[in-house]
Amino acid sequence: MDLTHDAETEAFRGEARAWLAAHVPSAPLPSLETREGFAAHRAWEAELAADRWSVVSWPEPYGGRGADIMRWLAFEEEYYAAGAPGRVSQNGINLLAPTLFDHGTQEQRARVLPPMARGEVIWAQAWSEPESGSDLASLRSRAVRTNGGWLLSGQKTWSSRAAFADRAFGLFRSEPGLPRPHLGLTYLMFDLRAPGVTVRPIGRLDGKPAFAELFLDEVFVPDEDVIGAPGEGWRVAMSTAGNERGLTLRSPGRFLASARRLAALWGSTGRDPAVGDRVADALIGARAYQLFTYAGASRFAAGATIGAESSLNKVFWSEYDIALHETALDLLGPEAERADGPWAEGWVFSLAGPVYAGTNEIQRDIIAERLLGLPKGRR
């Protein structure tokens, strides 16, 4: 057991650090949930990609560096420590790309991944529907077979990034009436500017259009944009969801950097002893999360898969993130009311953590049932 990165990882880390020091914008970009900020973040993705820093864990042919998970973690630590911008491409990189690597065709990977890596095509996810929030299997949007492809109809919601994104991916019911709701779903990619698509941006609590409703009316999707076999969408998607909830949804580097910023804020606001314990807890939590992730990554590197313990990960970071930001707001005192302060957007963002990617209630059910073996079914 050791916590020392190998020389190759440290060299990689050093290279990343140097590049970031030279390239990270000195002033924060405008919020990526605004039109202006979206464009600025897209440009930043291109800048990352130009020097092959946008998708370090992908194979080289697709624009990556073939970094293993330890190097990816090291990159993320440097990335957030440098105060680099949020990743407007994260839906594509973290959710769609792993699915394509596992279930896509060679042609799909060659066509879809490079423009994703360069920020030319930004992806939105299209999982939820108005009547199926936590209960994803109850999806009702349809994919109807047509000549050379499928016609998508129905409504999706909480489609993050969709207000300004280019394309989207999601599940559609292609064989209705099967005995279990998980059956008969198909995983498809579609163009947000195709005929029949209406995008209605939804403002989140701070008014920024962080997601959208999608109205689909016989939107044509060619067969080449089906991932995996038709009807097998649930199985295909679950590998993505496992990934989403696992090690890569929130990298430890993000929280290590936030905790350091919090400690600096505490220092610069007079080291209020009444808040010291909470600052300590933020530092502890970031370190614990880093170590928990390292342990998972080590198991992963040793060939294990990430299972229900990803629910532990999800509950931890989502509650940690809120506590950290609320501590920062408390240090700001009455100033915390300002919605334009540097901590404000992070706080609003953190509030969604316990809700999305599987509510924490559901995650705790999973922890209790799958990790502790408590009886299933009653909630």
Binding site: R204, P334, P354
Partner: protein
Amino acid sequence: MRFLLDAEQRDFARTLDSLLAAADSPSAARAWARGDHALGRALWDRLAKAGVFALAVPEAFDGAGRLPLELTLGFEALGRHAVPGPAVETVAAAVLLSELVDAGPDAVGFHDGGLDGLGLGDAGPDGPGPGGAELGDTRGGGPGSEAGAAAGDGAGYARGLLSRFASGDALATLRVDGGYALDADVADVVLVVAGQTGEELWLAAEPGPAAPSHDPARRLFTPAAAGRLLARGPGVAAGVERARAWGALATAAQAVGVGRALLEQTVGYVRERRQFGVAVGSFQAVKHRLADVLLALEFARPLVHAAALSLDPVDIAMAKVTAGEAACTAARAALQLHGAIGYTEELDLSLWLRKARPLRDAWGTPASCRARIVGVG
């Protein structure tokens, strides 16, 4: 000892509730956030007719006498219906000004209308002042245009304002300790407390630069201590202390109302919303979370009422911190149990969700309240 609202008080609360329920306060709040204050001012007129704004104004100035308990009922209703505007600030201004006109000339020197901004005369005559000084006069006045105040001296002007507060005819806002003056763009009177020991009270000429709040129906201004020096003296600092107490009390009551609204809407939602084939409200985790919200609110409200009865600073601090935390507890639960829809500005729920944290921190952060309670602040 009878720690229960009497029939008249319950009627008053019920009347306000019906009045506001019928008035589409969510639309007023949304319009206010867009900078359109007409609906909001119409709401204020109706509340004024119901007597809400007279509750912090002495009878001598057309008020109801100071009735802090009734005031908390009013502000709980304002919170429950997300009424926009500088209501707490108008109450605080009313308390401050009435303290000033009651203070003797040793404690407070008023602007006498004939001197420049630095020269202060004695307090004005004792009787009710003309009260007719147009607010426009003073708002237009900079340090160089003091002649505009000749229509009334400072004390008379203050008395006139008090009548206008009581009638709902004027909105005020207040800046203390370099903090923010809420909604100074729409307030008819912008007061700024300044000076090393907080002994100067300025009528600001300009609202100053604006900053956004997490609650878009609140806008945060930083008016400068410039314009007209309305009053000066140790009585100003003492009056500000009283004004703060009332501001904290009214904010605590408003927070309880916000928390109640959040709880009611969330209970309604989880009874209807179905997931996995059953009502979300039948999950034990959901039930327990909402039980905790009710618990927080039910133990906060008595503190607010007791603080109104005593006006003791420690009682007010207890009410403020507990009500503010209860509203935040309610907001966190409401957000979680609504799921993604709760995270949008589209649902009216957001009008309350975004108010909870600002009210928790305004007019006394939890830290400052707790410090006062254990005697170190």
